[in-house]
Symmetry: C2
């Protein structure tokens, strides 16, 4: 098993960052504009990226103190069954986001790509909560031929 | 053991990307302006980031066909003994960079941070070879309280 890890810090209240990863309308402002669903444990969120497809996530954990966890229920074969874990912590003026996309079966080239894309989307989340300047799909930062 | 993976694509000749990860003067334009050393197998490169310290890398592999490998000889305890592997491949108009920083003993918070920072430095490398717009330390993109 292999995991994608990231860490960003946002100069913003913890609850602002929490809402940005929990509320479909807010996720749509940093990840993909095509985000729908209901944020409740056992509920599902659907993220779409046009012709490239997308992901359905089951919500496993929702703790406003700073923990969110999704399980990938549908999407590319490499993603199904993996889990995405978000931990938020206050440190001084910062809200620290510890991100993990865990349970990849193999270190395939697509995992390399997703790791870099997650970094750019996490920075999009940071700019959203700090400056109201998120960059969700379809106008997100491109990193390669795989966009 | 745990690894940091990334993938970027550059619209640039493979040799331009190769030179940018092999030549100290070029590395200084996307990673840290304080890069010195000699690029030869068995040689060392020293990367410094002011008061934050830095890394000494021993060069393990240098293949202009598209493979470079460094071993961390000195730096933060978590980095010593880890290896950084670069593979370059041509695909149409693209040079694809498959990056791996491998051999982390534990998934510590610092590993999360380094993964996100590597993504931003790889994008700096991409902008350098495509548009001559690298962003090396000390003016690199900041991602958190750990800069």
């Amino acid at each position: 098993m292999a995991d994608i890890l990231h860490r960003i810090g946002c100069v913003a209240p913890l609850d602002d960052v929490y809402q940005a990863i929990v509320t479909p309308e807010r996720i749509a402002e940093w990840w993909t504009t095509d985000t729908v669903g209901k944020s409740e444990v056992g509920g599902r969120l659907a993220f779409r990226f046009g012709e490239a497809g997308g992901f359905d996530m089951e919500i496993v954990e929702l703790d406003p103190a700073g923990h969110v966890r999704w399980r990938v229920a549908d999407g590319p074969a490499e993603w199904i069954g993996t889990e995405i874990d978000w931990r938020l912590e206050r440190r001084g003026e910062w809200t620290i986001v510890l991100f993990k996309h865990e349970g990849w079966r193999e270190q395939v080239e697509f995992m390399h790509h997703c790791s870099t894309k997650w970094a750019t989307f996490l920075l999009s989340l940071k700019y959203l909560v700090e400056q109201d300047r998120g960059r969700p799909w379809p106008d997100e930062l491109k990193v390669s031929d795989w966009t």
